[in-house]
Assembly symmetry: C2
């Protein structure tokens, strides 16, 4: 990641936190919603958005509001997924999960807050025309909604402990995690008015990135280091969850990861000359080798 | 309520349900989110929006998307508020609450769905200009978010069992229920380009309507008929909740209701000649005497 990218990510976090600070009604909500944002994470989705804007020759600063909104939606989904009624996780990013610190009611409401306020941030983005803001709001609601992330989370919950086929596993991940990785690329293409052909190739790239992200996640659940991942290791197996590792074995999952990384890289190579893919190659590497 | 208004409310419900039908990923989410919409309710907020549009001489059909979105947000808030970690209610509108039927995970996700998809509906409202859609999205996120409904719900949870003053009780309700009653009036003024002076008076009216709504709610919790309200009676007292009734007594609460109804009616009278307040008077009566 180049130093500029680091700066855009810092701008994104600052944008989120300053918005959350403007909460003057409930101290609990302000503190609990900020807690999960400050708990860190690699900001993969904002990074992917900025790298795509850079590839398309557009000033990445134009994407700060959108990146902030997407990261808020990602964060809300983690808070709700961690709840006892859902995945029931006690640790996230090395820290106690939101409901462990603030209780379930405050955690539910902190998630609701981040989701609701993400739309405030998108609607008030004065760097973009009204039409572009609406297009971004529309795509975001769609990718985060019932035909996207929420739908996938429900399928995932229902598949727990069930015998499902591999196709179905891929189908679940395509929604549960995939859509919110495609989203930053799609939004960057809207912001930069990307030509249709380039847009389609970038979306293909982001779909591969989504699968790759999930495979890496499953591998980390087996061989990750809790001190680094911040999550309890082995939780998929304990929950009898079907994963890429339980399907292919650890070695097979690693192979699949390498294959996907290669084919995603080839898409970028096919775009060279048309867009500057340097930073997107960095994103791809980061997704492939991440240890948290 | 005139027959046209009934038609707009039917359009609103149809708009919500057809949108929820377009969910092709999770059957559970489609069924659980539709369940709470179909469970009824008086559609006070859509009615208030349509009545305000009619008062302002604007075709109420222009408000169907916005009304649908506001009703979805109201419905999501009920689903989340009823959860065991929140108000822990088993009945709502005479039917088992969402989590009682579908389980907590599906209920949390059904709420998340209705909130997220409400923004899809607002963003795709082709009856309105991009600028008006953005203004409506922005006001909605603001009134539903941390400085509105969610903030109020958190304050309300924290006040349970506490000794709070009456001013604080009013403060809580202003956010928890008041903001989402002001919202339809504000959105109608955006859609109809209402002159500032008229807009300010209508907003004042809606603020009174919000307080009145809460007083009636508190009264119904004591003297309501479960067969009509669809809620368990006496739940505030069991939870040791401070209400208008616990503060003023039942008779005092009734008096307060009459006073507020009068002063809200006077605001409307002051507007006669400028706007056609007939239907807004009907809304006021409905709020004041509702038995569910």
């Amino acid at each position: 990641m180049n130093r500029d990218m680091q700066g855009y990510l810092e701008e994104t976090e600052a944008r989120i936190l300053s918005h959350l600070e403007s909460n003057h009604v409930s101290d609990t909500i302000r503190v609990s919603s900020s807690y999960s944002v400050k708990a860190g994470g690699k900001r993969f989705r904002p990074y992917l958005l900025f790298a795509t804007l850079e590839a398309l020759g557009k000033d990445p600063m134009k994407g700060v509001h959108t990146a902030a909104a997407i990261e808020m939606i990602h964060t809300y989904s983690l808070i709700h997924d961690d709840l006892p009624a859902m995945d029931d996780d006690d640790y996230r990013r090395g820290k106690p999960t939101n409901h462990k610190v603030f209780g379930e009611a405050a955690a539910i409401l902190a998630g609701d807050t981040l989701l609701t306020e993400s739309f405030s941030i998108m609607a008030s983005d004065e760097a973009l025309s009204a039409e572009k803001r609406l297009a971004i709001i529309s795509r975001t609601a769609s990718k985060a909604g019932f035909n996207g992330m929420i739908g996938g989370q429900m399928l995932d919950m229902e598949a727990e402990g069930e015998e499902i086929g591999f196709r179905q596993l891929e189908h679940i991940h395509q929604y549960k995690t995939g859509q919110l990785i495609v989203l930053p690329v799609e939004c960057a293409c809207i912001i930069a008015d990307a030509p249709r052909e380039i847009r389609n190739r970038l979306l293909e790239f982001s779909e591969k990135l989504g699968i790759l992200f999930q495979i890496r996640d499953d591998i980390l659940d087996v061989e990750g280091d809790m001190a680094v991942t911040g999550k309890q290791v082995g939780s998929d197996e304990r929950k009898n969850k079907m994963t890429y590792v339980s399907t292919y074995g650890l070695e097979g999952a690693h192979e699949e990861l390498v294959n996907l990384t290669d084919s995603a890289g080839e898409i970028l190579d096919g775009l060279s000359g048309k867009v500057d893919t340097q930073e997107l190659h960095n994103v791809l590497q980061m997704f492939a080798v991440r240890d948290q």
